[in-house]
Symmetry: C2
Subunit: 179 residues, 2 copies
């Protein structure tokens, strides 16, 4: 079946107070809400799980396991699913590490502190390579996204603390483009 190309124009729906993308052919309103990204700083003993991306954006760069939340799952389940999909890794979620707002790309990222249930990891279809690295082995210059760097540094700053407030955006990054 051949389909026409989607066509939208801006307009204010009845009863609303701001402009939305409205279909030019039918009554569909494309409400754009911020999307939730769920990720984890996941460790096995003193090593951290990182993945080399096999997809754009930032193909070939390293990151933490993270991705868009799907419907039908909790935030913890989503972070576990992403680790399974990207690194065949089985996570135990320990707690919320950070909540980042990245308005420029309309994302809220919730990052968890997690433990690997086993050191068995392997690249999923979205990863070229996955590995467990010590703090000193993190390839800082080849990291894909600022938010993974924020999470790693905030995680490292905990130094064994088990009760803490979730971190937010580091100073000066409130409206920057992150990942």
């Amino acid at each position: 079946m051949s389909r026409e190309t989607a066509s939208f124009s801006p307009g204010i729906p009845d009863g609303d107070d701001r402009e939305r993308r409205m279909c030019t052919r039918c009554d569909f309103v494309d409400y754009v809400n911020p999307k939730i990204v769920l990720g984890a700083v996941a460790t096995w003993e003193d090593k951290i799980l990182i993945c080399k991306r096999a997809i754009e954006p930032r193909l070939g760069y390293w990151t933490l396991t993270a991705g868009f939340m799907e419907t039908g799952e909790s935030v913890e389940e989503g972070a576990m699913r992403e680790a399974r999909e990207e690194a065949c890794a089985d996570l135990e979620i320990e707690r919320t590490l950070a909540i980042y707002s990245i308005p420029r790309i309309a994302q809220v990222q919730i990052m968890f502190k997690a433990k690997l249930r086993s050191p068995d990891i392997a690249p999923g279809p979205e990863s070229q390579e996955v590995k467990l690295v010590t703090w000193d082995e993190i390839p800082w210059k080849e990291m894909a996204f600022p938010s993974a760097v924020w999470a790693l540094k905030q995680w490292h700053g905990l130094k064994g603390e088990t009760v803490h407030l979730p971190f937010g955006n580091p100073d000066g990054t409130d409206h920057m483009t992150g990942g």
Copy 2:
């Protein structure tokens, strides 16, 4: 301009791995992602701000200030905007109180602990009435949504603690319908 009624059918887009709603007329795919609700337990001295809803769902019932996150704002800004819109209230966000996952309605709710900068409040267009109540005055039987009750009880349990992990769903509510 008269528009046709939107028409979607399920299908799996190229490169995806699950069923999405696809327009039957054009190539638009309506990716449905969980939505973020931002709310606050906001206080003035020993009193808590509550609002009586002037809109469905749960018209006439009481709740905390809360609503859908918009694009272009941080999670804290969204919680402040909702308090302004629903109760003409000016909030200072103190910290993250709780993160609830409500998969049945595809929502993640982030609730903050907040202080009112002044006791001046008034109903916005979505509220019939707003007021500041002590803990003993909370109209528990007339509360609109379970999640507002969870947040109030978790807030009350803090008893002055200032450093704590964000609360999650109370036991047994992981997949219940909340608000």
